[in-house]
């Protein structure tokens, strides 16, 4: 297992490398010029000033955008290796503080969201599997599918209208104090819980039909022990996979929630930066994201081995 891990970590380095090159290329292929976007259109002499093309050239040179692509990439890579993420075009200031300020809010919201997702999904999933085709099952199916079919902004805004505007119980948005975690956390959890509940239910159903479960029952073991010891372990694999996948997507996944609740997270930053063609910011976040993705997938693989001893990695 240890050898496997080390090999995987070493293999990760060229993969991250490849990701940065691919993203760099795609970024520079897309239409849209960050400097033109920075200057904007139609600020009309107010707040921006009138611009002519010579200024555009000056600004492009400031970020080295006038240089050939491979030189730009090599420079960027050289800086990254030294720990310098460069300067944002939009914010005209270093990239790392922009990211650092948003790391903790993103992680905290993800934790709260997952916590709520688990709290919702596990009981519902297990009960619906045990009581298949009962009212509870249908309720849980409807509940979980509702969470993933309704647009996130709809869920969010309905909650805000109810809990903030009508009842004044919670702040509408932003991040200050535990109260502001409630609604965004719930919306995140609710939207994640849908897929998780269904996966738990389906895996359990599958396992409950297996012969060895019948064998265990026939041996006279208490229902509960049967389920916990045998069913869970085998049902766990797809559930663990989903966990890993969600973890990998947390950096960019919750843009909508962050926008609706004005949450200072990385999802919104990467989205805005893509719109602004803010290359340094996007590249830095993608780099971080790649590390998280690889880490999440690797952990999932290790957990597989832990849950199901039959799984061997060569």
């Amino acid at each position: 297992m240890l050898q496997y891990t080390i090999r995987k970590l070493l293999a990760a380095i060229p993969i991250v490398f490849a990701i940065t090159i691919i993203v760099f290329t795609i970024l520079h292929m897309t239409p849209g010029d960050p400097i033109r976007i920075l200057i904007g259109f139609g600020v009309g002499g107010y707040a921006g000033g009138d611009v002519d093309d010579s200024m555009i050239e000056v600004l492009r040179a400031k970020w080295g955008l006038d240089q050939p692509l491979h030189i730009q990439y090599v420079k960027w890579l050289g800086n990254i290796v030294r720990g310098d993420m460069g300067n944002s075009i939009r914010f005209r200031s270093p990239v790392w503080p922009l990211i650092k300020a948003r790391l903790l809010p993103t992680i905290l919201l993800a934790l709260v969201g997952y916590g709520i997702a688990i709290l919702l999904a596990f009981p519902l999933g297990v009960i619906s599997a045990l009581r298949q085709n009962s009212i509870v099952d249908y309720f849980s199916t409807g509940f979980s599918l509702f969470g993933l079919s309704m647009p996130v902004f709809w869920l969010g805004l309905m909650l805000i209208l109810l809990f903030s505007v009508r009842w004044g119980l919670l702040p509408t948005s932003g991040m200050n104090g535990w109260k502001t975690f409630v609604m965004p956390g719930f919306v995140l959890g609710f939207s994640l819980a849908g897929g998780l509940t269904r996966m738990i239910r389906s895996s359990l159903l599958e396992v409950l039909r297996q012969d060895y479960v019948n064998t265990a029952r026939a041996k006279g073991l208490a229902e509960r022990i049967v389920i916990v010891k045998h069913a869970f372990r085998n049902a766990a694999i797809p559930v663990v996979t989903i966990f890993g996948l969600n973890l990998a997507y947390i950096l960019s996944g919750s843009v909508l929630i962050e926008t609706v609740f004005a949450w200072p997270g990385l999802g919104r930053l990467v989205f805005q930066s893509l719109g602004n063609r803010d290359y340094p910011v996007v590249q830095a976040i993608v780099l971080l994201g790649a590390v998280v993705v690889i880490f999440a997938n690797l952990t999932t693989d290790l957990v597989y081995g832990f849950i199901d001893p039959r799984i061997r990695y060569e």
Partner: protein
């Protein structure tokens, strides 16, 4: 008995009246909250977007300020000024003004600011506005002289709008780049904190030269979603938001909220691409004008708050706006689909193959309507254009693209009609940006020699009457040969909590005199 009653009521009345007067006395204290998008750059000579200027303009100041109603200029950091000749301006600065770090404000700072602006290496977008400045001389600590290379009638306007002064000693000490996130000025508020993605806070300048502002602090909360901004206003979390027209009637009905109208308008225009052959014919362009029911757009999409312009000059630029000419062309550009069809036929465009769309020489006229995504009204207008063009037989398709791509495509001319929107600006100098053949924002590839020369003359004519004449002629020529369809001009609304007092309706926004605003809590 009655006399006692009378005396009692008089006393009570007197108390009530004094209480009322007392209640109107500005109180010190409180924090003003507003919701908006995140600023990106708090250095006034480098910033390029609205949210940034909302904050930066509370920290920094200009030499002169507009009078309300744009009738003239009043003192800013300069208490008086004169222009001995066309090419010289002398400003006498206010005494005892301190920077937020305690150092005195002097003429050296003014010189430093404009030299930095004019230095290409700084990368200040407003460099072109001040390109006419030749040299700046420091006469003494409180007197500074600008020597211009050519007559610049709008010099004071540019100074009032984007001539913010930065501090030489501070900027040299920390570097220009650092001032982007840690600004320091002379204004009524001092920079306190910028929590990325969350809010920016500025606090009252105790030593402000106009007197300490009533408010203790001013905070811009970052709330990107419009519906949530409105919710935050309703719950009292913020005192002010930029409002949407759809909500105006709701807000007016709410006693806790007030609506303010900003007379600055945004023009929404459907620009022609002059490189697309069919549009080069004036009859075709006029026909397209006649095809659009602009008053209906005003009613339906802008709730009647906009007006239908014909002149490229906005109404609020009173001195330069020629109402007579505007009205003269209203008739020519009225909504008249029958006339449109006739004009098209006149120009050789008729439906010869029965597909419902006009064609000439075997090819249909096909207009690509290019819209930047994100603006609801722009998309709605594009749909109306699409429908109404079809009604006169002109085939069109809508292409919505996100802003970055739109910029590329628009500048490359990959469209037939592009829908643009921009704020109209305070001086006619703006017209040059959009309608001069070399203008940086001339997306239409419009090239009209007469227009070009009129604009150039108007920009440098120092005599007001001559200037007006140039701009009047420019409007007439422009309307005879329009580069675009002026769809509507619509104002900006802001919604305020009713307990915010001391506000005035100013063209630059209610926050311009923020030091006069106080909270009644």
């Amino acid at each position: 008995m009655t006399r006692n009653l009378l005396r009692c009521s008089l006393v009570v009345g007197f108390i009530l009246v004094s209480l009322a007067c007392f209640a109107q006395e500005p109180q010190y204290g409180g924090t003003l909250y507003t919701a908006g998008n995140e600023p990106s750059n708090l250095n006034p000579i480098l910033l390029t977007d609205g949210p940034s200027s909302t904050v930066a303009e509370r920290i920094y100041e200009t030499l002169v300020c507009y009078e309300p109603g744009l009738t003239g200029f009043r003192e800013g950091l300069a208490r008086s000024w004169e222009s001995p000749d066309e090419l010289t301006w002398v400003f006498h600065l206010q005494e005892s003004v301190l920077w937020h770090d305690g150092t005195p404000f002097t003429a050296a700072d003014v010189k430093y600011t404009f030299e930095k602006v004019l230095d290409p290496a700084t990368g200040a977008a407003r460099m072109t506005n001040f390109a006419q400045i030749d040299t700046i001389e420091v006469i003494d600590d409180l007197t500074v002289q600008f020597n211009l290379a050519a007559p610049t009638p709008f010099f004071l306007d540019d100074l009032a709008l984007i001539g913010h002064i930065i501090c030489e000693s501070y900027t040299e000490a920390v570097g220009m780049d650092a001032t982007i996130r840690e600004p320091m000025g002379t204004g009524p508020f001092v920079f306190d904190e910028w929590a990325p993605g969350q809010y920016v806070r500025v606090v009252a300048n105790e030593n402000y030269w106009r007197g300490r502002p009533y408010l203790d602090a001013f905070i811009v909360k970052v709330i990107p979603e419009a519906a949530v901004q409105f919710a935050a206003l309703e719950t009292g979390e913020v005192h002010m938001i930029g409002g949407s027209m759809a909500d105006v009637s709701t807000v007016e009905a709410d006693p806790n909220l007030t609506v303010f109208l900003n007379p600055i308008v945004q023009f929404v225009q459907a620009g022609f691409n002059f490189t697309y052959e069919p549009l080069q014919d004036l009859r075709v362009r006029t026909a397209l004008f006649n095809a659009i029911d602009r008053p209906a757009v005003n009613e339906a999409i802008f709730y009647g708050y906009s007006y239908v312009p014909n002149s490229p000059m906005p109404r609020m630029q009173g001195m330069y706006y020629d109402e007579a000419v505007n009205d003269k062309y209203a008739e020519l550009y009225r909504y008249d689909p029958t006339a449109a069809v006739a004009l098209l036929a006149d120009a050789g465009w008729t439906d010869t193959d029965g597909d419902g769309f006009v064609d000439k020489d075997g090819e249909n006229m096909h207009l690509v309507i290019l819209v930047p995504s994100g603006g609801v009204e722009l998309e709605q207008i594009s749909v109306i254009l699409n429908t109404q063009f079809a009604a006169i037989g002109v085939s069109s398709e809508i292409k919505t693209v996100e802003f970055g791509t739109w910029l590329d495509m628009a500048f490359a001319g990959e469209f037939g009609i592009d829908i643009v929107q921009y704020g109209v600006g305070f001086t006619p100098a703006l017209q040059e940006q959009y309608h001069h053949s070399q203008g940086p924002f001339n997306l239409q590839f419009y090239s009209n020699i007469l227009v070009d020369s009129l604009l150039e003359s108007g920009k440098t004519a120092t005599d007001l009457a001559r200037r007006q004449e140039y701009y009047y002629q420019y409007q007439e020529e422009w309307m005879k040969n329009p580069p675009l369809i002026q769809v509507v001009a619509w104002p900006a609304f802001t919604f305020w909590s009713s307990n915010v007092m001391g506000m005035s309706e100013l063209p630059l926004g209610q926050l311009e005199l923020i030091y006069q605003i106080w909270l009644d809590e």
